[in-house]
Symmetry: D2
Subunit: 393 residues, 4 copies
């Protein structure tokens, strides 16, 4: 009826089937937290982990918008899966963006062959992991917080600071590299299977050939496109959460909700209040979806431009992503909170799991405050200026 | 920078030029009310009054979405012009939708040749105009309220009730038909040059050949498409008003606003509050624009389907129009009220005319309550049902 | 600094001390659900369970406003305790309102002596418990949902339907009456220690002397004052939750939050966004508090009027309670959701327990939709009419 | 039914009678702008201009809260009158606060005897009026903007800068002092009879005995209490405007509004949407009223403390005024915009004058941005700090 992917596309058909599988355990997985082992197995079987890898390297050469619409689809029932799936691709492409063409080719090929799932330990907000040079090697000690996907990863994108604490280095390494301990200690109020806890490093050796040193296209705007991809994952998880919450609430409302004692109607859905509330939330979610689609188009275009991407083009895409992100977050917060009002008191028991939508969105929106994204859009409108590329914009 | 029409399209180029002309007198015209004589002259010279008439009858065969984007463009500076321009086309096409093919051909041809501007006296909410049969003629007595465009019309679309007050008849007649008095007595708080006042009829004779009797395609969903066109005019006037208010406010803010005494900034646009407020309003206006664009696409498709349009297709278009309308109205109300906060106290003098945006939107949104449009979207989402075609949906 | 009870009042001093005790385990208790055994012990020791019982029967003869301000105080850290404490008094007074003076005296006296905690199984929305007459006894079979406080109650207020399902009977019985099974199976997303689960009745015998038959003052408005007391408990739990959430968030913000990376400030609380957000939430919570205080005054007055209370007076109090309830619920929902934005991403881990505020308010506000309370206020303003006394108004 | 002053108080009885008189011409006066000559005559006859002057000097020694509740009452129908009446007292008391006891006594006495109306030309935001010393005189040249009440004033409170542009001087002078030209050129979008235009000074001589030199209690917090009085006038005009708009809308809705075509109800007030909308606006307006009342209590207390007022006490009062002001402004904006939705399209003609409420509030709220008042409340909550006394806080 709405918010449906077009399943004449074979990738979307797979995504919809997977979403249906994920739905079954979503409430239990939210309660349990930890590792989405089962779901990851299904994901690997589906072949959807490699769809953005160029065909020449064994992938399917699809667009970013396709991958992130799939992340959105997963988030309809399980925000963690949406998050992990979207972030995965940021790491898959890290060598393409920040390494040499040879590194990119090699990692694309091995990732496709191995059907790898990528996690990351590259949060560059925290100054807690340091590496020092030792011949052709770097030796890493410390830890990283917020390492989404690390707990089920085959391969990791990582970053560390040099001993002076000034310069960041980036690399891609196997998740089982000696000295790496993945704590799987995430305990957020939502997004509970994202494994966004701690990874610690004790005398971990990284060879200089594993370094993604940004040299081949140093300083080009395209090198910071990963930020836009991350932000786009976030916003599509918001959109999917809002859509999924609405769908779940509608089904409950139709099947189980009873008309309010003073409503004078026989069917709960005949109450003007119920109609209006759903109408309002649906309209806002449609608006969020359109803004998200516009941002995905911008992301596809930016990606196609590759290293020719200009500052101006990167900036315009960043503004579209920021606008979509801020609006999607606000909408998803409102939708996931309000659905209870039109489902009624009996809906709010833990067995129904409806509160996971709000908890997922609430925690996930904190990773880049809407306030600052909104200011960026304002500055752009007032001055024509784009945000300086950085770790959140 | 944004909200700009693509002026590589020649129709849009003309529209932008006209909008610039209209801007000059917009504040004075709002104050004066009455007839947009000057603007209508420019509009006729531009050729934009005939663009939806099929080429075979002397028009340019453009799409509805083009006409209503132009209405939106006019509304950036003058809501009345947007309103009149959009409604004009509803009347131009009345014979096509509700008359015979011969009537349609005839009226298209004469309208194109005469470069007519159409007004209407067909509001069917008020039971105040009656007609009785007299041989091949109908004789009309009474009046019609809310007759937008009548005060400057060449031709009028009209409706009346039979003596029993049960059945409506429709016709198209010259605005100077004997017995017709156009009072030009509109005195709304906004949309002040729309001439939405009273037209009275004293012994007015309408020949049966002028009757648009709905017979040739009786009962087909396409016959109620005019409602969607009207609603689309409204919503694009809201969108244009929001866009125009933002642009006008931005220019004032940049050029004249002073930083608040406790802001600690030297330039008003450096105040985080100012950035955020603009950002928030811009994001919402972009969302409204995307919903409006989606609805215009639906309207184009529905129009192209013609009398093959199904109930289902008509219903889906109606829901898209309803969603866009409700969201655009809310957004425009918020934008047009809030701009003052970031312009400052000195902006709110009548000479600046900024309050006309709010007054225009405030009155224009009352013609079809967002509450009911929102309920329609809710019912559609909950039950899959479309609103029954009627005079507002 | 604000939202503080005046501890020169000895009852408030005790309440504040208890609130501090409750704070320590509040997060763990929310996680565990089940019975607030420990807290109830402290509550009994404090003497606060008897403060509304008239002095002549062994109580302290305090006002309702005092009891419900204490409920509000508890809700600052533990919504369940606020809920249980407020509801307790509704049951303590059930015989006073609906029984004979002798029953009231007897139950007041025994309740004070025994330092009883009262729960209830009298939800009259569900038609699931039936009783039939057997000589001087009623024999009850079936169950009651939403039996708040039953899991730790000494005494229960109950209600059942006669075999025709038309008339309700009310009584007060010991919680350990033979045949009563308290399932303690509540599993709401919030208010997790309220024990609002199921109580089942198998061949439970209630003597006619235990019946609160409403005869002594049949039909008087005072007999429905219990509804206003219940609604007042709800709204003060909302207010207390909002206050408590703000206080907890403020402490976290001051002690742990870091300035946002693009803020340009050194201290998070110097960010204009943080100031504004707190300011806005504080102002709304103050407004909610004032409306709640006004409603408490009305409740005190209504209680003092006793069986002389007129329809008009009852109606005016009901409107004040409705207004306070609707506003407090909306405010508490907004506050408990938004605090995260100004605390930051690290605040949202389960160990901090901040999400319990939102979950508590979200579920608790569902028990009487703001929509209908708001309509009641509207009808009163438009027509001067009061809501017909009923189980929620 | 609500929002009514208690007319058992003789001052309030007069105020209510005056409000009824003002109502008759309010729409015409809004349209005309200019001078409220007629209303001022009635005001003088009522004796309400002297009620805050101590009894010993010929006044009635009433409280500030009384005067500002009267301002609120006037604002129910005419925002300009509320504004002028409240501001008047700030000037009446200027000598008390900033002059010597002898000056205060003298001006109180003469003001009471002459039944003066005070205006002001003391806006200290604009550096446009300068004075230089000439013996015992100051000679003033330049102008002042925003000189509310000057156009009908008997006496004026004024301020000017010394030639260096650093120090402000204050004085009270007759409005017809030679060289003073009152332009009466105010043309705001609202508050149209406040005369908030320009006063120019050409070689105006002010004697040093007219100087209010702040010396007698130099540096005491009480010297900045005038700011709180001004802000309190503003906020009570907002509250009165919201109340008055609701009352006017209710009357229209009951008498003239027709049910919406798809509502299914026979009476417009039976539409759940209409009930809810009024209920919501009434609840918010009641909350605004309670916050305003709390701030008035604080103002009375601060005034009674006189020159003993401490920084802490002044600060606490300032926070209460700020909270009330921000909330009242937001509420009044929402109320005055939304009433149209439940009155319907026909209500929005200029003859009904309903839009004056919004225009009044919109312009009046710009004189001290809610953003900054809200930040002040946030800082107070976060840090316990009060705003530094200044011209707007």
């Amino acid at each position: 009826m709405s918010f449906d992917l077009d399943i004449s596309d074979p990738y979307f058909a797979k995504a919809v089937a997977l979403r249906q599988s994920f739905a079954a355990g979503a409430i239990a997985h939210d309660k349990a937290g930890g590792r989405p082992t089962e779901q990851l197995k299904l994901l690997k079987q589906s072949g959807l982990l490699t769809i953005l890898i160029p065909r020449e390297f064994g992938g399917q050469g699809q667009k970013w918008s396709k991958a992130l619409r799939i992340a959105r689809e997963f988030a309809k029932v399980d925000g963690s899966l949406g998050h992990l799936y979207g972030y995965h691709f940021g790491s898959v492409h890290s060598a393409h963006v920040n390494g040499s063409p040879e590194q990119a080719a090699d990692l694309y090929r091995r990732s496709a062959e191995g059907n790898w799932f990528w996690g990351n330990a590259r949060n560059s907000f925290s100054k807690t992991l340091f590496g020092k040079r030792d011949g052709d090697w770097y030796v890493l000690d410390g830890f990283k917080p917020f390492t989404s996907g690390s707990h089920v990863a085959d391969y990791l994108q990582i970053s560390w600071l040099d001993p002076t604490g000034e310069d960041y280095s980036f690399a891609a390494i196997p998740a089982d590299r000696q000295g790496v301990t993945i704590h799987d200690d995430w305990d957020g109020i939502g997004q509970r299977q994202t494994g966004s806890g701690k990874v610690s490093f004790a005398n971990v050796r990284v060879h200089e050939s594993e370094l993604l040193d940004r040299k081949s296209n140093a300083g080009k705007p395209f090198q910071s496109i990963g930020v836009l991809q991350q932000q786009s994952t976030l916003l599509n998880v918001f959109v999917g959460s809002a859509q999924g919450a609405l769908i779940a609430a509608r089904d409950y409302t139709r099947e189980k909700s009873r008309p309010w004692i003073y409503s004078g109607v026989e069917k709960h859905t005949d109450d003007p209040w119920v109609k209006r509330t759903y109408g309002d939330l649906v309209i806002k979610t449609q608006a969020a979806t359109l803004l998200a689609d516009r941002a995905l188009d911008a992301l596809d275009e930016a990606w196609e431009r590759g290293f020719d991407l200009t500052d101006e083009e990167r900036g315009e895409a960043a503004i579209k992503v920021a606008a979509a992100n801020a609006f999607a977050g606000e909408t998803a917060l409102e939708v996931t909170a309000k659905i209870f009002e039109v489902m009624g008191a009996r809906s709010a028991v833990t067995a129904n799991g409806f509160d996971r939508f709000w908890r997922n969105v609430r925690i996930h929106t904190l990773h880049n405050p809407a306030e600052y994204k909104t200011r960026n859009v304002g500055t752009w409108f007032l001055e024509g200026a784009h945000p300086e590329p950085g770790i959140f914009q």
